[in-house]
Every structure is written in C-alpha cells, then in structure tokens.
Amino acid sequence: MGLTLTEKILARAAGRDRVVPGENVWVNADLLMTHDVCGPGTIGVFKKEFGATARVWNPEKIVLIPDHYIFTADERANRNVDILREFAQEQGIRYFYDIVDRANFKANPDYKGVCHIALAQEGHTRPGEVLFGTDSHTCNAGAFGQFATGIGNTDAAFVMGTGKLLLKVPATMRFTFHGEMPPYLLAKDLILHAIGDIGVAGANYRALEIDGDTIARMSMEERMTLCNMAIEAGGKNATIAPDEVTFDYVRQRTAQAFVPLYADGDASYHSHRHYDVSRLEPVVAKPHSPDNRATVREVAGRKIDRVYIGSCTGGKLTDFLHAAQLLKGQQVKVPTYLVPATQKVYDDLHATQIDGMTLADIFTNAGCFEPAAPSCAACLGGPKDTFGRLNEPEVCVSTTNRNFPGRMGNKQAQIYLASPYTAAASALAGTIADPRDYL
C-alpha cells in the first residue's frame, strides 16, 4: 500500500520508509515560524525549559514575523515586538522581519506583514519540507506541497530547542476538483463549499489532500486560499502536490534547494470527495461558523454595514485584483476596508493596473478607504484601536477565514465569510450580493 503526500513527507522527516495514520513519530522540522502574539510566550517557555543561556537549534531555520498587533498604541503589543527583536539579536536569528517605525510602515524595508503570505513571498515555503508555526493558519503553506501545521507555544519552544516534534500521523481526506472554473467562482467558494460539506470538525485530526485538473490550472495564491482554511474544518494540514506552477513561484524567491515529494498512486485515503466546479455557485459562510454555508443567492439582499478585504486568506494581490474587477468605475455603498496582507501586496496595489489605472486608484475612486498598513488587522479583532475592527454589533462581509462570535471584535457582530468577488459585489450593493450580477 502506498503513502499519501502527508505520509510521504512525515516519513522522510522521521527518517522512516513509511508511517501509518495514528502512530506517533518524532519528526525533524525544516522551519519554525512564530509571530508577535505567540513568539514572546514561546521564547519564555524556551528559556525556562532549556535555560537562560540556551541557544536555538538553528538560527537559520527560525523565522520571526511581527504581524498581528503592530499599528496600535497598546503598550503590551508594542513590547511583544521588542521581545522578538531582543531574542533575534541575542540568538542571531537570520530571518526577522522587523518593524521599528510604526508611524510609517514604509520606512521599514524589512517589515513584511501577515506571516503566512510573507513566508511564501520570501521563499520559505518549499515542497517536501516540514514547517511548524505558532498559528493555526500555518496550513496555508501546504499549497506548496509542504507539511505545514499550527502548534502552541510549548510545542514551538520544544522545536526551537531541538528541531523536532512528536506528531501523530493523520489519516488523509482527499478532495478532487474537476472542471473549468466559472468566471464568477474563486478558490474561496470551493473551500467554503468543502467546509460546508464536512463541517468545522469534519477533518479533525486529519490531513487534506487537494487535487484535480481545476487545481492544476490555479495560481499559487488561489491554492493558498484553499489550504489556508483547512483548519476551519479542523484539519491538521492540507497539501497540494507541487508542479511547475509551484516550482516557478518558489524558484523566483529562493535559491535554496528542495526535494519535492508526491503521493503514491496506490495511496490509502480516509475518504475521497469529488467536485465538479462548473456546477458550484458562489457561497458564503453565515454567522457564526465557517461551515454555516449558504449560496449567495439564498442570502442576497440582506443589509450589511461594511465590507472587509484582507488577511492571509483574502488579502493577497490576486484577491484585490478580483475585487478591483468589480469595483472599477463603480461606487461602494458601505464603508469598505482594504488591508493588504504584506508590504509587497501594498506596493503591488500601487503598481498593478487594470486598463491603465492602479488598483489603489480604482479602490479610492470607488469610495473605499485607502489600503491600510499591512497586518492581520481586524481579521481577529485585536486591540480596540485596530484598523477595521468591529467595535459595534455590525454586519460585515469579509474575505477572512473565521466568523465565530466576537472574532472581529464585537460579540454580536455578524460576519459573512465570502470570496473577494462576493465581497466587492456586496460593497456595491450595500447588501449581500451575487457577483454574477456585477461581473
């Protein structure tokens, strides 16, 4: 019996020929990522358990990315970035994407923004490797044919000191997407469909393997959107087999060698679902759960208070390009917040044009707020002064990934998770709206 892609990667990282779902194996990490929210706690556990003068396992393989609570007057939040900086200096951490001047993020060339997109953009997500991150959306990097999963501070501190972690091998659920994507559908619709089918615990303790001819034609950014939300079904990780699209993306960003892995033809799967994308419709996840799926047609016309386009899931260049297609030459009817995931995305909004007009100009002409400083921002609420935070019980259509009560701030706020097309159409309508009526 062959191995799935996740099993293949874990077996190699454990120095074994094969692994079996359910068994616990010590796995060697290729990379550990942490950020300003979980980094200081991870460092605290590391110092307590390994000693005040302990050295990290490999200063080249730890990536520190301040991204969550950056543009805030909150003193503890600011201190947490200082803790990362001191640790980076003390340990000689090579990849620390620092921000010092909060008043003007552009004055910080090293500052990236949202960790999952920064990791990809800086060439840290490589096929066949094992990435641990102190953030549940670390599964985003599975789009590169990598084993990538979110862990807590204590596990991360262990990896920081040893480069290893004890993992239970997950069984793999396979999702195959066939057919030509209709012009009104985006990757976000596909993953919301799948999560709606299996539920928020439907992939608990399991890996997702996503494939099919639809995926083969998808850009890396759209593939990331799919893998990013595996955790919303409880998944440990998600993988997409690497191909030329993957290799092109990675090689443009790093010279570091990698050895890709692939699932065996006779691999054994927990289950296998097939989707004909040509038959799927734009969908949203209604409040207050990512599996609370409805077609946009079913909820169209519901009045909304604002639209939010941003985050690791929905704040990449591709996401803004899709939104701009609908917003060009139109006027939004509700406040529309735009938060580029990274500084690179921010720059690209000012450099990328549709019919001679930059995306940034398209958005401001349409009445959106100017693209904000790149960070996680209001996706997870954050300190009260966070840009775009739902401080009132408002209704928001958002390209982010979670809509549990209080996720974006106020506990009574209602969040509809949607694709950038649906978010843009809704901004133009002032109600939830189907992108087919605006494309």
């Binding site: 616990n24 010590w26 929210v37 979980c38 200081p40 706690g41 460092i43 605290g44 556990v45 307590k48 358990e49 390994f50 000693g51 005040a52 003068t53 302990a54 969550h68 609570y69 909150d74 503890r76 939040a77 947490n80 803790i83 991150g133 102190t134 953030d135 549940s136 670390t138 979110g150 862990i151 807590g152 501070n153 204590t154 596990d155 262990f158 000191g161 040893t162 290893k164 004890l166 239970k168 928020v200 615990a201 608990n204 303790y205 955790i231 409880g234 440990k236 759960s289 997870l380 609420g381 954050g382 300190p383 009260k384 979670r402 549990f404 009560p405 209080g406 996720r407 701030g409 506990k411």
Partner: protein, 183 residues
C-alpha cells in the same frame, strides 16, 4: 494534579472556539510571564455569548467552576496556547467534552494545564451550570453529586503518558530526548 476533582460545573455546547475561550484582544498577555498568566485567567471564556453566564466574576481572578462540560469540537479555531492556559489559570482542572479540536487537545497535553477528558456520551444537556460533580480521573467517571448518576469517560489514550509526565518537556526528559535546563 489531583486524581479526583470536586466542584461546580460550567456548561457550554458545541464548537466553542478559541476566540470565545480567550478573545484575541487579550493575546497581548504573555502566558510565560507569571502576572500576565494570572490575568489571562481572569478573562477565561469572556468571549462566550452572554446567555452562558459569567465564568469569572467581575474583579475576580479565579473561577468558581473547576470543571467545564462541553459538547463537540471544544477549542476549535486558533492554535493559541493562551486558550488552555486561560482556563488553567482561572482554576479549571478539567474539561469534559464530547470531542476536541486537535490543537487545543494537544496544547492541554503539552502544557499540562488541564485534563482534556472525553465523555462517552453527550453531557452538555444533562448538566446545568452550577451543579456539583465529582470527576475521577482514575476511574474515568463523572458523577452528578445531587443524583448520583455516573457517566463514563474515554481513556486518554496515547497522550496519557505525556500528561502523566507533566507535559511535553517532562515527557521528553523522562524518555531521554532532552536533558535538564542549562543555567
């Protein structure tokens, strides 16, 4: 940790995510700093909808409920270790849920903050917040004090040695993976 936990239960239902256990605005608190650890406890479960009632009284640091009873998929969402830590810091000794989200369960084991017990049947409708219960971690039972009803818990399985050792680091030392801290 005690093998028997006696006290009032706090009851929630399905898919209680980490934003409800500890809202993101409090994640600036660093759990490895003792005074901030205490503070995290005071905010435990403050993100729940108001209908569940208050878990930690206004101005208090600790909860009066050492046992939390939940439905399915407790702790879904973020990987924040602040979630089991906030509950542990508030004085929770065990959660008894029908099922857990993977990372939350793992963080309970890795930190040794609390026991993530799985009930064999759904208990969140059979118990009301404030009722007294006795949790026996050896016998794997939860007993409702008022009626004497006994409910079975699932064995902890392969995380038990990790929890018994006192968390991931203690387990790794016990099995010779790592040595003592250097000073």
């Amino acid at each position: 940790m005690a093998a028997v936990v006696r006290g009032k239960v706090f009851v929630v239902d399905d898919n209680i995510d980490t934003d409800q256990i500890i809202p993101a605005e409090y994640l600036t608190l660093v759990p490895s700093k003792p005074e901030e650890y205490e503070k995290l406890g005071s905010y435990a479960l403050v993100g729940l909808p108001d209908r569940y009632g208050q878990f930690v009284a206004d101005g208090a640091i600790k909860t009066e409920y050492p046992i939390v009873i939940a439905g399915e998929n407790f702790g879904c969402g973020s990987s924040r270790e602040h979630a089991p830590i906030a509950l542990g810091a508030a004085g929770v000794q065990a959660v008894v849920a029908q099922s857990y989200a993977r990372i939350f369960f793992r963080n309970c084991a890795a930190t040794g903050e609390l026991y993530p017990c799985e009930s064999q049947e759904r208990l969140c409708e059979g118990f009301a917040t404030g009722e007294e219960a006795i949790l026996d971690l050896e016998a794997l039972t939860l007993t409702k004090t008022a009626t004497g009803e006994v409910f079975a818990l699932a064995p902890l399985g392969d995380v038990k040695p990790v929890i018994d050792a006192g968390g991931l680091f203690a387990y790794a030392r016990q099995t010779g993976m790592i040595g003592a801290p250097i000073s």
